[in-house]
């Protein structure tokens, strides 16, 4: 009898926790997830500098130089426009050798398969304080549509045209500004 009771208590002791566990009603655990993706614009040019144009003495036109521009944007909904443009800080000296300057009107630029146009246009709205007559007439418009993120690769070709035959010798340098804008 004593032995039977011991066995009974042992069995009960083993079973009770199982029932006790079964009786517990567990809540469904939830983990809140969030991720914040900030707006960003990235521009990746193929180069930060362009080598000297090839030029034959007395020629009116130089050789061309080309660089690519990969623009990547990740914006929030609601943006209506995004674009880039090119300009020089001076209309009279896009490039200079220290004594002689090549004006912006002789610097031509085209985007992709577009046609060359001189960089002597009036201020572009994107460009603050740019000197009138030093803005290129060949900007890049990006297509903004949901999901307002994307990437675009453009090829920019530049060339000097309408150069005077008596262009003085020397190493010509200049700074071409490239601005992206979104508001």
């Amino acid at each position: 009898m004593k032995r039977s009771l011991t066995i009974c208590f042992t069995v009960l002791a083993m079973i009770l926790p199982v029932f006790a566990q079964a009786a517990v009603t567990g809540n469904t655990a939830t983990i809140n997830l969030s991720m914040s993706v900030g707006e960003s614009i990235t521009i990746a040019p193929s180069t930060q500098t362009l080598p000297a144009f090839t030029y034959a003495p007395g020629a009116a036109t130089s050789g061309t130089q080309t660089f690519s521009l990969v623009t990547t944007w990740q914006l929030a909904a609601g943006h209506t426009a995004m674009r880039s443009n090119f300009w020089f800080a001076s209309a009279t000296a896009a490039m200079t050798n220290g004594t002689t300057s090549i004006p912006a009107s002789e610097f031509f630029l085209k985007v992709n398969a577009g046609t060359f146009s001189a960089c002597n246009f009036a201020n572009d709205p994107v460009v603050t304080q740019a000197v009138s007559g030093a803005t290129c007439n060949a900007g890049i418009n990006y297509t903004l549509a949901a999901p307002f993120s994307g990437t675009q690769t453009d090829t920019i070709t530049v060339q000097l045209q309408n150069l005077p035959a008596n262009l003085s010798a020397g190493a010509y340098t200049g700074v071409l500004n490239v601005a992206a804008d979104a508001n």
Binding site: I41, I43, L50, P125, V175
Partner: protein, 149 residues
Amino acid sequence: MKKLILILILASPALAQTISPVINECGRKCTGQFSFTNNGMEPLLVTVEPASFSIDATTGRSIYRPLDSTAQVLMNETSTRLGPREEHQFDYSVKCSAYPCMVVLRTSATGGHTDNGLQLRFQLPEVIYQCEKAKHCRADSRKALGLKD
């Protein structure tokens, strides 16, 4: 493993710069920060210039102008040199006496130097809208200019 490292190096852009965030909406107290990242492998000289702007209601394009006399921008620094793969944070505060106030911090980067040729200078915008209240400031500012949002 060596091949993987080589692929990663080749896959990474040699030259690239990122600005983030692009937009900040502020109330009367307007402080913020933005990061400028040199994703490339060449050092960059970065400068920041503040300007005021409005938006062309037809094209949606920004029309920049010198900073209005009613706006004041304070920055912890206006230029820095970024090494390869370096990210830098610029802190700013904007005080305007008239709302809505629209300010852009034009952040320009140049790298490399040439004694014979062209240097390229790239500019990215950090746009700040300041109103009485931060909520819907951008949308309200744009509506005031005749834009949809």
